[in-house]
């Protein structure tokens, strides 16, 4: 594992102590000034989200940490929870004060059940040190955190599907609006933030928004934790400033000879070598942190096949564009592999993909054709008129 330099430099509870001396608008304006955007991939400004929830009137509010890390190629949240759990809980507590919530819920994916003991111990330690519970650090803030185990569904990474699961229903996304910041868990205002976002929030309160802004680009401030896997010499977890180019990242991880990089997981885009000068940032290539390096020997159709099988399996089935579209794309891919797909049909598949991007209900369906469309756009010479190799 690579080091996490700015994470490990954090003074424990510096952010929480600073937040205790601030009023609620002060905390939210510090997060807003930092320019922090959601680190799960969607990139919604965290300060704006917190402000909506803080402004909502209700008898109860909730802070929910989204640890349903299921995007293919993403594992940075697992490492953050293993090595810096306190920073995440600190961020949740700060968020609790900022929006006026007394209860935090960590939604931990079922596949990470082995982390639960460690996390419960970290929570118990925080209760002993008066960092959770009643009158935190002698203030009038009451806040506690519980862990809710997911039951194995990628779609629960979508915030409204996650809330459905918390309430005991199938993980099917809701219509938005209303957004969770107004009508979330149990109909109460709730913020759902990624593990990494909450950890950065704690760092920002401890070091000030300027410290965070000193890295990254104008529109994508700060640093970001990346999960790098695939055909490279040094896979693992890395921390880089936002805005670095794909080529720079590949050099660091030993993947210079890659023919493509899948950035943003199965829901992301496939960036061919000619575009490696593009930068990884919300304004260019957005990502939740997943970078899968594809070496020169990789067959792009095999890669796509894997992604589409994933989406067919994980589509919740609620809306037709996603449920049927993912299956049709997978069938089309099998035709390409067999070398029986006409150019006219490939065009129809691309048109179907574009329909899915606009007509699907949630982010899963909207992003599921991304990989297909970017491979067709960039690797067309590999796709047509194939002779099947295996019997």
């Amino acid at each position: 594992m690579s080091s996490l330099p700015t994470y490990t430099e954090q003074i424990p509870e510096a952010g929480l102590r600073a937040a205790m001396g601030m009023d609620r608008p002060g905390i939210i304006s510090a997060i807003g000034a930092s320019g922090l955007k959601g680190r799960g991939g969607a990139g919604f400004p965290t300060g704006v989200k917190w402000n909506f929830a803080a402004a909502a009137q209700a008898d109860q509010k909730f802070v929910i940490c989204n640890a349903d890390e299921g995007e293919p190629g993403t594992f940075k949240d697992r490492v953050i929870l293993q090595e810096h759990a306190d920073l995440v809980f600190e961020g949740m507590t700060i968020a609790g004060k900022a929006i006026g919530a007394h209860e935090g819920i960590l939604f931990l994916r079922g596949e990470y059940a082995y982390l639960r003991g460690h996390l419960e111990a970290a929570l118990a330690g925080r209760r002993d040190r008066n960092l959770l519970g009643r009158g935190i650090l002698g203030s009038n803030l009451d806040f506690d955190i519980r862990i809710f185990m997911g039951a194995g569904a990628y779609i629960c990474g979508e915030e409204t599907a996650l809330i459905e699961a918390l309430e005991g229903f199938r993980g099917e996304p809701r219509n938005r609006p209303p957004f969770p910041v107004n009508t979330g868990f149990m109909g109460r205002p709730s913020i759902v933030n990624n593990v990494e976002t909450l950890a950065w929030a704690a760092c920002i309160l401890g070091n000030g928004p300027e410290w965070f802004r000193s890295h990254g680009t104008e529109k994508s401030t700060g640093r970001k934790i990346f999960s790098v896997s695939g055909d490279c010499a040094r896979p693992g977890v890395y921390e880089f400033p936002m805005g670095l180019t794909v080529a720079e990242l590949l050099r660091e991880v030993g993947g210079e000879d890659a023919k493509a990089a899948q950035i943003g997981g199965a829901a992301g885009q496939c960036v061919p070598a000619k575009d490696f000068k593009r930068s990884i940032a919300f304004e260019d290539i957005p990502t939740g942190g997943s970078v899968i390096v594809l070496g020169p020997q990789r067959d792009m159709l095999d890669v796509l096949h894997n992604f589409l099988e994933f989406f067919v399996d994980e589509s919740c089935g609620q809306c037709a564009p996603c449920r049927l579209g993912t299956t049709k794309l997978l069938e089309g891919l099998d035709m390409l592999r067999k070398g029986t797909c006409s150019m006219a049909y490939l065009k129809e598949l691309c048109s179907l993909g574009e329909t899915m991007q606009v007509a699907s209900k949630c982010g899963l369906g909207q992003s599921s054709p991304n990989a297909f469309l970017s491979v067709v756009a960039n690797f067309r010479e590999e796709l047509m008129g194939r002779i099947p190799t295996h019997a």
Partner: protein
């Protein structure tokens, strides 16, 4: 199922509901516990849970059928979930798959006749830099090779063997 077994299951569910809460938000936590202990969630269990939470059993079934870690199919004591997503795939998951099938004599989605092992695929389990990865119940194994498969299965059998004579439930840690 014998009445005594049913009574025992119903009592277990009542105890769980008392601990976790008798409302809809406790549904998934209760189901996960039942699945872990009984390796299945049958229609009787669903009926008892529905009665306790004041919902229709179809509601319980709709949740059970949605999530990969629930489901009403009976599973083995050790559920082996092999990651099939891209990074593990590129690191040789297909050969691990083949060896698992060879050593257990079953295919994916099946359970051994002695009820010990179930083979399943899982989607990305967040071990992409150390693949191929698999979970045995809650325990993670990384950089699995076809040769290591036998060792992993033997480890499970040893845990099972020690407790086989006891009536106590085995929790694989």
């Amino acid at each position: 199922m014998l009445m005594t077994e049913r009574d025992r299951l119903a009592q277990e569910i009542r105890t769980l509901a008392a601990r976790l809460g008798r409302n809809r938000t406790s549904l998934i936590p209760i189901l996960l516990e039942i699945k872990r202990k009984y390796h299945t969630i049958d229609s009787y269990a669903m009926q008892v849970i529905a009665d306790l939470l004041g919902i229709h059993p179809v509601e319980v079934n709709s949740v059970v059928s949605f999530y990969a870690f629930l489901g009403d199919r009976r599973q083995g004591r050790f559920v082996i979930r092999l990651c099939r997503t891209i990074s593990c795939d590129m690191q040789g998951k297909s050969r691990v798959k083949r060896q698992l099938e060879n050593d257990l004599g079953i295919g994916f989605g099946e359970t051994t006749p002695d009820g010990k092992f179930t083979l399943e695929y899982a989607n990305c389990m967040g071990m992409c830099d150390q693949g191929p990865a698999l979970l045995v119940n809650d325990r993670i194994y990384t950089r699995v090779t076809p040769e290591k498969v036998h060792e992993i299965l033997e480890e499970c059998r040893r845990v099972f063997g020690v407790h086989a004579a006891e009536t106590k439930e085995v929790v694989f840690k």
